[in-house]
């Protein structure tokens, strides 16, 4: 029985910009992240090394932003990257891109870690960047990375300040929507709506997730 493939609109994934030719070498077109992950699922360790070089900065970056602590971030980052190797066969292309799979895993792992570290009585809202989006943390050497960075930044800037604020508090701050609502002193429904509308706008601006 064949799985019913959902029709996927083919749009360039901003997280999957092809590596520049100087890294790959030769005239061959560089492999997409999805192709690399498929090769990884079949045991290709060279493909994994290439995949590592393409995504590890973002994996580490998002974990570091949520967890704050550098040592823990390295530990969780290492776990996630190894898990990608181990469970590559579980990636289901019909559910989304390899980049989404990888970064969703990284973010969730960091969130689970930061929440388990907090006791119930000691739930401070991790207020971060209420007023502005994250700074440019690192000099991005690859032109492609800079381009995708600029594209995401531009799309994030197209959100309303309230949408951006909720997204930043939730995604980077690691707060639940209840914590965000408490911190901002707004109803739960308002936060949920801002998160959802903000992500929809971001999605449509970037042209992902179709």
């Amino acid at each position: 029985m064949a799985a019913q493939a959902r029709a996927l609109r083919s749009v360039p994934d901003p997280l999957d910009s092809s590596a520049p030719a100087s890294i790959v070498g030769g005239a061959e077109s560089p492999a997409s992240l999805d192709a690399l992950l498929l090769a990884v699922s079949q045991g290709d360790h060279d493909a994994f090394a290439q995949l590592f070089d393409r995504v590890s900065a973002q994996v580490l970056g998002v974990i570091r932003r949520v967890l704050r602590d550098p040592a823990q971030s390295e530990e969780v980052g290492q776990e996630v990257l190894i898990e990608i190797w181990r469970t590559a066969a579980r990636f289901a292309p019909e559910r989304g891109s390899a980049a989404t799979w990888i970064l969703t895993m990284a973010h969730r792992r960091a969130i689970d870690r930061v929440r388990s570290a907090q006791s119930a009585s000691d739930r401070e809202v991790k207020v971060a960047y209420r007023d502005h989006t994250p700074d440019y943390d690192v000099v991005l050497e690859q032109v492609e990375s800079r381009l995708e960075h600029e594209q995401v930044r531009r799309c994030l800037d197209s959100l309303t300040p309230l949408q951006r604020e909720s997204l930043v508090l939730a995604y980077y701050g690691g707060n639940t929507y209840r914590e965000v609502a408490q911190e901002l002193d707004v109803p739960l429904g308002t936060v949920k709506t801002r998160l959802r509308d903000g992500l929809i706008r971001l999605r449509d601006c970037l042209g992902v997730g179709a």
Partner: protein, 239 residues
Amino acid sequence: MSVPEIHTFTGAYAVDALSANERESFERHLVDCEPCTIESRSLQAAAAALAALVAAPVSPALRSRVLDETSRASQVPARTPRDRFVHTHWESSRLWMAVAATLTLIATGLGVLAVNADRRADEAERQVAEIAATPGEVDIVSRATRLGGTATLVTTGDETLFAAQGLPLPDINRAYQLWVISPAGATESVAVLQPDPLGRLEHDVRTLAPGESVALTIEPAGGSERPTTMPFVTLTAQA
């Protein structure tokens, strides 16, 4: 979470802003709600883009450690059809339920096919060791399915349990259906099942006669009177 408002959680879910309980509830809901699933996935794609803004340098030491460890680490099996099934007589009357429940069997010197699914491996290994050491009568048959994952049939004197893990979620409006199939090919429905978000399911089966098999097919969501698709896994009880 009340049902009418559950659709409003897709954004919070996509940025992991639900509590553990809420996330679990919501993921159960996703199994039955295709619009929510489609939207959640698309919003997860948008959320993942936020990682691009915070890329951090990776130390060479970390790179070495990861590449080194992965060069030695095993992987969960790829989804190729494999006919590796093993009959084995386990000598235990007690712990087979625990083994089936964790759905993780460890490859041991006794030669049982194993899928090491998660960190509960140590626990499962301990249970397997206990099973092997304790006399009783347990039969375990395990096999990779054509769609990925593993199915297991565990039989004791009194009970038979079918369990599977690593199954893909069925398409919308589809479900898995469990059958008993006689040697002559007559089919008898046992249950219509949905895997949990981790691809696991299990169900009791009546005591099987020699030569009877248990099989899973994909059917419309409400189930069918007779299988409408070929089984993607079949397990035959030890005679």
